[in-house]
Amino acid sequence: MPKSRTKDDPSVKALAYSRFYGGKVGISPKVPVRSLQDFSIWYTPGVAAVSRAIAADPDLSFEYTGRWNTIAVISDGTRVLGLGDIGPEGALPVMEGKALIYNYLGGVNAYPLPIRAKDEDHLISVVRALEPSLGGVNLEDIESPICFEVLDTLTREMEIPVWHDDQQGTAGVVLAGLFNALELTGRRLRGTKIVLFGAGAANVAAARLLVKAGADPKDLVVLDSKGILQPERDDIDSLSLRNKWKYDLALSTNGERRSGGLKEALRDADVLVAAAGVGPNLVKKEEVREMSKDSIVFLLANPVPEMLPEDALAAGAAVVATGRSDYPNQVNNSLLFPAIFRGALDVRARRITDTMVISAAKELASFAKRKGISRRRILPSMVDWQVYPSVAATVGEAAVREGEARKKSSKDELLKTATEVIEHSRKTMDTLRKSGVIIEPPD
C-alpha cells in the first residue's frame, strides 16, 4: 500500500508548495479602497460610529462586521492527524488546510489558530475569550479524553456554536454512510448490532449519535485497546475517574454483557466501525467472518485502514468504507463540516446539537440516494458541490426547529443564501486564479 516518494507524491508536493506559497489562506479585503479617503469610512473617524452602535447592541457585530461568517479552527496540537502530540506550530499547516476547505466548500472565513495551552482549563479559557470575534469555533486534533470535556464545557458556556470535527464530523459522516449501507443490505438502525472498535473521539461520538438516531444502546458493543467495554471490567473504576465517557458507554451498551476482544464482539454483528489506529492488521479476516451475512465494515484509520478493504470484502463484507480517497466509499469529514458551519452561521445558531448533526447526516445520505447509491457508492463525492448548500440548509432548518437559531429563515431561503455564499467563494477562487493573483504551483 505505501507508495515510493516520487515528485507526484502528495507529501513531496505539500512540502514544496507550502514553501512556495508561504501558507494556504490569507486575509483579503471585502470592501473597495477607491482612494485613501475611503479609510476615513473603513477606519477612523467613520468606524467609531459603527463601534458605538455595536457597543450599544453587541449582536450588531454579526451585521456590521464579518463575524457572521467567521470561525476559528483551533487546536492545541496534542493529537494531530496520526502524528500525535506535535505541538501547535506543527498543527498549523493542518489547520490552514482545514480553513481552506471551509472557505472553498462552505464559503466560511476560517482562521487557522493553533494555540499553546498548558492544560485543559487554559485551552477552554482561551477559546472562550475569543468569542466576541467569532461566529463559531471548530476544535481540531485535541487529545482524548480532554477533547470531550473541552467540547462539553465550551458548548455549555459559549453563545456561538462549537464543533469538534474529530468527534461530531467523523461520527456524522459515519452515520450518513451507515444509513445508506443499512438500506442497501436490507437493515434498519433499530435492531442492528453495531461494533465500535476504538473508543476515542470519533467512536464515542458515533455511539452517542447512533443511539440518538434510533439504535438500541444494548445492540452496541464498544472496544478500546483493552477489549470490550462492560461494567465489570477490571479497570472500570479507573474509567469512572479518568474517562467518564467510556465509563458511561461501558454501563449503557453491550446488553449481552460480552467480554473479550474483537472476535467475541464481532460474532453475529451486522456493522463494524473501526476507528482504532493504523492497520492493516488490527482487524483480521477471520474476525470479519464471524459477522452476520452481508456485513458492513467501516475502516477509518488513515493512511492505512485497520484492514485492507479487499480483505474485508473477501471475508464476506457487503459494504466496505474507508477514510481514503483511492478506495470506494470514502468516509470524509470534508463532506460535512463546511456545510454544518454554513448552515449554523446562516441562522446565527447558538449551538450545533446532535439533532442538527443527525439531520445533516440524513440529508447527506439522501443526497447520495438522489444521485444513485450502490455498495461502492454510499456517500456523495466532494466534487458534488451542490451537496454543501443542500446540507447547510437542512442544518439551518434543524437549528430553527431546535430553537438554537437567532435568525429565522425558511429552508428555501437558507438554500438560496448558502448557494450564493458558497458560489461566491468558488467564483473568488476562479477569478483570483484567472487573473494571476493566485499563481499556479511550480512543476
Binding site: 479507573s238 465509563y247 461501558a250 454501563l251
Partner: protein, 172 residues
C-alpha cells in the same frame, strides 16, 4: 482533569433497591466478596500510588473474607441480586483506648459494582451496617477512605459523617 465522578449514590433517603437483597455474607459468597474487596483496593490505588496493590491480593482477600465470616467482632454484609454479589461491606469492632465512647464500629471495605451505583444501594448498605454494628455494641461508626477519594468523602459527609483523622504517609 476537572471531571468529578458523582457520589456512589445520588439518593439521600432510605429504601430497598428492587431485586437487591442486603444480607450477612455466607461461605458461598466468599469468592465474589473477595473479588469486590480487591476492586476496592485497586480503586484506592487510582487515588494514590502509595496504595499499589500487592501481587497475590486476590488470595489474601479471600482469606480475609473467610476470617470475617463467623467472627463475633466482624461484620461482613453483601448486596446480592439473585445469585450475584453486587456489593460488599466489611467492618470490625475496635476499642478507642483513650476516647469515649470507646466501642467503635470501623468500616474497612465498602464496594458496589458500577452498574448498581446511583440507586441508593450504598445508602442502604451503610444504614444496615450501622444498625448491625450498633447491635454489636458500637457507639461510634467510623469509615476509612483514601484522602484523595472525593467520592468517598462526599458519600460519608452527605450522611452526617465528618473527617476525624488524617493519616500522613511517605515512602522514606
Amino acid at each position: 482533569m476537572s471531571h468529578r465522578t458523582k457520589p456512589l449514590t445520588s439518593r439521600s433517603g432510605p429504601g430497598a433497591v428492587p431485586g437487591v437483597k442486603i444480607r450477612p455474607a455466607t461461605e458461598g459468597d466468599a469468592s465474589s466478596a473477595a473479588d469486590l474487596i480487591v476492586r476496592t483496593k485497586r480503586l484506592n490505588n487510582e487515588f494514590d500510588p502509595m496504595f499499589a496493590v500487592v501481587e497475590g491480593a486476590r488470595a489474601r482477600a479471600e482469606r480475609y473474607v473467610v476470617a470475617s465470616l463467623d467472627a463475633d467482632d466482624r461484620l461482613l454484609l453483601v448486596a446480592s441480586e439473585g445469585p450475584k454479589v453486587v456489593g460488599v461491606l466489611r467492618a470490625e469492632m475496635r476499642e478507642r483506648m483513650f476516647y469515649e465512647p470507646s466501642p467503635e464500629g470501623f468500616i474497612t471495605d465498602f464496594y458496589i459494582l458500577p452498574e448498581h451505583r446511583r440507586r441508593a444501594l450504598g445508602h442502604d448498605m451503610l444504614e444496615r451496617a450501622t444498625r448491625d454494628l450498633k447491635k454489636m455494641g458500637a457507639r461510634v461508626i467510623v469509615a476509612e477512605v483514601p484522602t484523595q477519594n472525593e467520592i468517598g468523602y462526599k458519600f460519608y459527609t452527605k450522611r452526617g459523617f465528618r473527617s476525624l483523622v488524617q493519616h500522613f504517609g511517605k515512602q522514606p
